[in-house]
Symmetry: C2
Subunit: 88 residues, 2 copies
């Protein structure tokens, strides 16, 4: 499946969450990651995030799609981290 | 169609972009909006954003899906702005 993860966490945890998600997904923009994952990988990601964040203060949204083909992406302004370049 | 818009803009333009997107979409989280829009509304949103942002520095990603049914959303931690409440 294809996921887009956006997070809004307290400043002191931003770097840890960012670093953690980089292991599984492509960094797109400030607080946004996306990529193709399996069900098992997504479970692992969620378990890791559970440990890293404070669920009373932080907020993480995981948007899951069955396939990337359902997603049309448009960018206004700069592409901070074009995925094509990461995959090169 | 259903859209999720995430933005990473310079501090001086954050409030304007946020205020603008609130007119069309539901605020989800810091720098994230989502909602159902028509093609025409999306064009209007994009035109408005073109005027508000500096495309040499700012970055706005628009994820479009043909229908909300393709999107499964999971939240870890707090829901900063639960859409159900907004619609009530």
């Amino acid at each position: 499946m294809y996921v887009v993860i956006v997070y809004d966490v307290e400043q002191e945890r931003v770097a840890k969450v960012c670093q953690y998600l980089r292991r599984f997904l492509h960094w797109v923009q400030n607080s946004v990651f996306e990529g193709e994952v399996t069900e098992a990988q997504l479970e692992r990601i969620k378990q890791g995030l559970h440990k890293l964040v404070d669920e009373e203060y932080d907020s993480i949204y995981i948007y899951c799609l069955p396939h990337e083909k359902y997603l049309k992406k448009q960018v206004l302004g700069i592409e901070k981290a074009p995925i094509a370049q990461i995959l090169d």
